[in-house]
């Protein structure tokens, strides 16, 4: 088996999972200024999977793989790309846009990139933890008319094909698909590595190409309008009761459960 693969990994810069989300004063979006951002955890899993495929091929001496990471957004997404490069990706593509990008827009941008780069496999996180859309991978597969394997929890690569174990409701499903294909990652696919300090330094020297949405000629106009963003209802505090009678009284008159 000889393989010369190019793997495209899409990543998104999102608010860090550990940050407590706050809705802005106007109630139209969440507060993103001065908030810690990091790579979307599912995209981290995707990057790790691409690197594992590459390392697996190199170890078995059956081929080579090039891992290309791509991200769309303002200049700051370059931090996310550098993280992916530090993990072990070979080069990065930054598609600059300061507008809000919805899944369809991102899928169109990725389609343009796929047509330029001609990868054998595109890996995306199954969803981003900020908007939880879970659409980009599927839309990209639709736009390209490529097979898709979503929610992957295990991937085995073969000759021009791959076998993917998918997480579905109440169990797993194993499918085989030809390459090129779209793969979206589920949580249990792998354990993403933590980039070491020397690798972060080396990542600064890896190539990072910069493109703009206009150069790709993609229409990224939002198709959806967000009307309102609201926080979940606050939990009401508990009450101390003095005696059993008091408790019974409160259950009867206030909670009305008796």
């Amino acid at each position: 088996m000889s393989n010369n693969l190019r793997i495209l990994v899409a990543t998104k810069r999102v608010i860090d999972y550990a940050v407590k989300i706050r809705v802005n004063a106007a109630g139209t979006a969440v507060e993103t200024a001065n908030v810690k951002h990091s790579m979307n955890p599912f995209d981290e899993i995707g990057t790790e999977q691409a690197i594992q495929i590459k390392e697996g091929l190199e170890k078995a001496k059956t081929g080579k793989a090039e891992v290309v990471v791509v991200s769309c957004g303002p200049a700051k997404v370059q931090e996310t790309l550098r993280t992916a490069l530090a993990m072990g990706a070979d080069r990065a593509i930054h598609v600059e846009s300061n507008d809000e990008l919805q899944p369809l827009a991102v899928a169109k941008v990725l389609k343009a990139i796929v047509e330029k780069e001609k990868p054998d496999l595109v890996i995306l996180g199954k969803q981003a933890i900020d908007d939880d859309s879970n659409q980009t991978g599927q839309m990209l597969a639709g736009l390209l008319n490529w097979p898709q394997a979503t929610f992957a929890s295990k991937v085995e690569l073969g000759e021009k094909a791959m076998t993917v174990t998918r997480e579905v409701d109440g169990g797993v499903e194993t499918i085989k698909t030809a390459l090129p294909a779209i793969l979206t990652t589920d949580l249990r696919l792998n354990t993403p590595r933590y980039a070491s300090l020397p690798n972060i330094m080396k990542a600064k020297k890896k190539p990072l190409a910069k493109l703009t949405v206009a150069e790709l000629g993609v229409d990224v106009k939002p198709r959806l309008e967000i009307l309102k963003v609201a926080e979940p209802a606050k939990r009401q505090g508990g009450k101390m009761v003095e005696s059993v009678d008091d408790l019974v009284d409160k259950l009867k008159n206030e909670a009305k459960v008796l």
Binding site: Y17, A18, P41, I129, L187, Y194, S196, L197, P198
Partner: protein, 106 residues
């Protein structure tokens, strides 16, 4: 102090310092502890003893990375995957049938 392990120790300190930036109890907390741990061993001269400390440092690095991963994994699992477990737990709590619950958890 120009021993063969000097660079190794400095690299270890840098790696731990870098890892400490995301420490849940706060970067300051971690960096203080890190510094005092290194200062405490600054007079070590026995190469075997120094190597032992370096190995310990490498081990701590691995543990911290594992902890970060598990924290993230748990947060994700709680957010996106636990609804079934919760309703299962609720029904088991109500029926008081703990054996099944244990078996269901694998």
């Amino acid at each position: 102090m120009s021993t063969p392990t000097r660079h190794r120790v400095i690299a270890l300190y840098k790696q731990l310092f870098y890892l400490g930036r995301e420490y849940p109890a706060g970067a300051d907390f971690f960096h203080k502890k890190l510094k005092s741990a290194f200062v405490k061993n600054k007079d070590l001269r026995d190469p075997a003893e120094i190597q032992k400390r370096i190995d310990l440092g490498d081990y701590v690095c691995k543990e911290i990375e594992a902890m970060y991963h598990i924290n993230k994994y748990r947060a994700m699992k709680k957010r996106y995957y636990d609804t079934q477990d919760e309703s299962l737990l609720q029904s088991k709590l109500e029926s008081g049938n703990w054996e099944d619950l244990q078996a269901g958890k694998r």
